[in-house]
Structure formats: structure tokens, C-alpha cells
């Protein structure tokens, strides 16, 4: 998030705020976010998972990564 919030205070961003609507990330930012999640958590995010429900707030990203990791742990 430091990349996206350069000059802003992370603490002021509510966990449920839309990252796109708040202007925090754009289409390149989504690319960066997906690459970061894949590298950091060893995930493979499929095209159909690239939806706002999974990625458009910090809370959603946390939930998505947790569900992916628990799915891969149980699989």
C-alpha cells in the first residue's frame, strides 16, 4: 500500500473504502496489486477472480487472500 499511498496517511483509509473510487489505485495499480499478492502469498489469481468483490478494498483483499490460502491449504 505504500506504493499507492505515497504522500497519504494509510491510517486515514477505512478498510472498506473502494480503492478505485477513492483514486488510490487505477488499472495499472490493479496489475501491481495482483502481482504483489501472487508473489507475496504464492497465489495464482485467475481471470474470473479479478473482480471488485475480491480486490476493491483492503478488507476485501484480506478476505480474498485468506480464502485463497485456506483453500490451497485444505486442497
Amino acid at each position: 500500500m505504500e506504493n499507492f499511498l505515497l504522500g497519504d496517511d494509510l491510517r486515514t483509509l477505512p478498510g472498506d473504502a473502494s480503492l478505485i473510487e477513492a483514486g488510490i489505485i487505477d488499472s495499472t495499480g490493479v496489475l501491481e496489486l495482483v502481482g504483489f499478492l501472487e508473489r507475496t502469498y504464492g497465489l495464482r489469481i485467475a481471470d474470473h477472480e479479478l473482480v471488485p468483490e475480491n480486490l476493491d478494498s483492503i478488507d476485501r483483499v484480506v478476505r480474498f487472500v485468506e480464502s485463497k490460502r485456506s483453500a490451497s491449504a485444505s486442497g
Partner: protein, 337 residues
């Protein structure tokens, strides 16, 4: 139920003679009085926008004070140069040909870009043809991430999603093309004491479809307020050759054929123009859905994409920002925290 006024294609109809006359008059004033320059230099690609702008410049400054630069490189479309020449001949303006491949090679444009492409397609060589594409906008709320489509010399096609760093590296390298062209436009403008005239239409200008300090740079942009549909109307009125009027807008940046709506815009320009018009007039998706043959939900997606592109490209429109006031220089303002 509230009745919604329909936006029909007629909404973009213009009185071509009146519009052309107004542009010519204002252009002459801006270049002569505001910019204190004596003519116009512009890049002529053989596309509709630069062709119409060239014709307007010829009317504003005279054919002898309008210089069109033709700047092909080794990956330009096969018809680009011929179309540019045909347009210049039809308008009757001087052309200067600048083959920019050696400059691009010296800057490492092709090499840097090919190195970046090889990060996702290891077997990629100069013999491959390729392009960058976006998935369709319609019918889905999924994020649209760029992919590369590459075709080997044997005809094998590979598609791969682009990581952010690879995408940025490719764009940064290919942007050399627009920036080298602009550098040459300013060279000739300096030499002649002319203004550099930019050629974006409203869609391109509004949606940030340009390279900063590349095709985004200019002293004046005479058709940036006109929807692309209107630019075509004006082109027909000004006698632009049929081959240009009939040509599908391309990026002319990648070696596989690529339309502008595949790379950047969400719809063909005729439909996107109407959606943009409706959105600019604060009309709801239902007002234009019938005219563009889309569901209101898809039009809402187009509106959302328009706003998203405006946000993402705001930085491209900004001049260098100052941290303190310099009131002696008009048009500058300082940014405060």
C-alpha cells in the same frame, strides 16, 4: 415511470461550415496573436484527426505556412506513409519526411521493449508480431488487465497476462515513438518560427489517450473539443480523401493489427461518442442504451470506465506543478498541501 429523453446520433450533428470557420478564425488568432508564431507544423499520420487538423491549418494560415511531418518507423502500418502523402497532396501542403527508425534504435526503443516482452514470452524475437489488448468491458464488472498477444513467424499465437512492471516497461519503451515524433515537430517549428499543432479529438483528449510530452504536447489543439464522429463529418466537408474517411482508427504502435478500442477505449468510437455525450450531459444510461444497442447496465459500465480513465489520466493533463506562487508568470498556480 419517468420518461427518459433518447440521445440519438443526431445529437452530434454539426454545421460543418460554421464549425470550420470558427476553428479557423480562432486558430489564426491564437497562433498569430497569443503564440506569436507564423504558421503551423503538425505530424500527419494518415488518420482522420491529423488530416482534418492539417486541412484546418491550411485554411487558417495558408497552404504555404502549413508543414506536415510524415514520420514513419519500421513498424508503421503499410499504408500510413501513402495515406499521409495522399492527404497532404489533397490539401496542397508541404511535407517533410523524417524516418525515425534510426533515432528509435539509438534510444533503444525496440531493444528495451523486446527485452520486456521476453519477460513473459521467453522465445520472443524481432520476427514475432504482437500487440497489447484489454478484455471486453461489456457484460462483466471484472477488472480489465492488459495482456500481450504475440504471433511467432510460424503463426503460433501466445497470449499472456502482463505483470505491472512488464506492462510499464513496454509502454515506457514504445512511448519513445510519440516523443521522438514530437521532438521533430518542435525542431521544425523552431526552425520556421511556427507553432506545433496537436491533433487529438475529444475522446482522446478527455480520456487521456496520449503520451505526456509525446503526442500530448502541442501549442494548440484545434479539434480537442470535437467528438470523433464530428471530426469525421468535418473531414468529409473539408475534402479529406475517402481512404482516410473509411479507415478504422488504429494505434499504429504495435506490429499486429490493433484497433483503438481493443487497446484503450471500451467501444467503437461511434458508440463511445454517444455515451460520452450522454454522460457529459448528466443523462442516465437508459437515454443512450437504445441508440448504441447496449443494455443500460453495459452503458453504466461505459460511464464508469469514462470516469475511471479521467481519474487515471489526470496527471497526463497537468503542467509541471509549482510549490510556491510565481505571480509574474501568467497561468501558473502553486499547489498547497
Amino acid at each position: 415511470m419517468r420518461r427518459v429523453d433518447e440521445v440519438s446520433p443526431d445529437a452530434l450533428e454539426i454545421d460543418c461550415e460554421q464549425v470550420a470557420a470558427a476553428i479557423v478564425s480562432t486558430l489564426r488568432h491564437i497562433v498569430g496573436r497569443e503564440l506569436r508564431r507564423q504558421g503551423a507544423v503538425l505530424g500527419l499520420s494518415g488518420g482522420i484527426d491529423s488530416s482534418v487538423t492539417a486541412a484546418l491549418c491550411a485554411l487558417a494560415f495558408g497552404r504555404e505556412r502549413t508543414v506536415a511531418l510524415l514520420m514513419p518507423e519500421r513498424e508503421s502500418g503499410e499504408t500510413t506513409l501513402d495515406l499521409g502523402l495522399e492527404v497532404a497532396e489533397a490539401i496542397g501542403i508541404e511535407t517533410v519526411q523524417e524516418e525515425i527508425t534510426p533515432i528509435l534504435e539509438a534510444a533503444g526503443c525496440y531493444e528495451r521493449r523486446n527485452d520486456a516482452v521476453r519477460e513473459v514470452i521467453p522465445g520472443f524475437t524481432a520476427g514475432w508480431r504482437w500487440k497489447i489488448v484489454l478484455p471486453p468491458l461489456l457484460g462483466s464488472d471484472a477488472y480489465r488487465l492488459y495482456s500481450i498477444v504475440a504471433e511467432s513467424p510460424e503463426g503460433e499465437q501466445v497470449t499472456a497476462r502482463l505483470p505491472a512492471e512488464t506492462y510499464l516497461a513496454i509502454v515506457a519503451a514504445t512511448n519513445f515513438k510519440q516523443r521522438v515524433r514530437k521532438m521533430l515537430e518542435y525542431h521544425h517549428a523552431d526552425r520556421l518560427n511556427y507553432a506545433v499543432v496537436g491533433t487529438p479529438n475529444r475522446l482522446e483528449y478527455d480520456q487521456g489517450f496520449f503520451v505526456k510530452i509525446g503526442d500530448g504536447a502541442a501549442d494548440v489543439k484545434p479539434i480537442a473539443h470535437l467528438y470523433k464522429t464530428q471530426v469525421y463529418r468535418l473531414g468529409a466537408h473539408l475534402g479529406i480523401p475517402e481512404a482516410v474517411l473509411a479507415r478504422i482508427p488504429t494505434t499504429d504502435t504495435y506490429s499486429l493489427p490493433q484497433t483503438q478500442d481493443e487497446f484503450y477505449f471500451s467501444l467503437p468510437y461511434e458508440k463511445l461518442d454517444l455515451c460520452l455525450y450522454a454522460h457529459n450531459h448528466a443523462l442516465p444510461p437508459e437515454s443512450v442504451a437504445g441508440s448504441v444497442g447496449l443494455s443500460p447496465a453495459d452503458v453504466a459500465r461505459v460511464f464508469h470506465d469514462i470516469e475511471q480513465k479521467r481519474r487515471a489520466t489526470r496527471y497526463l493533463h497537468l503542467p509541471p506543478l509549482l510549490l510556491g506562487p510565481v505571480p509574474e508568470v501568467p497561468g501558473t498556480a502553486a499547489v498547497t498541501d
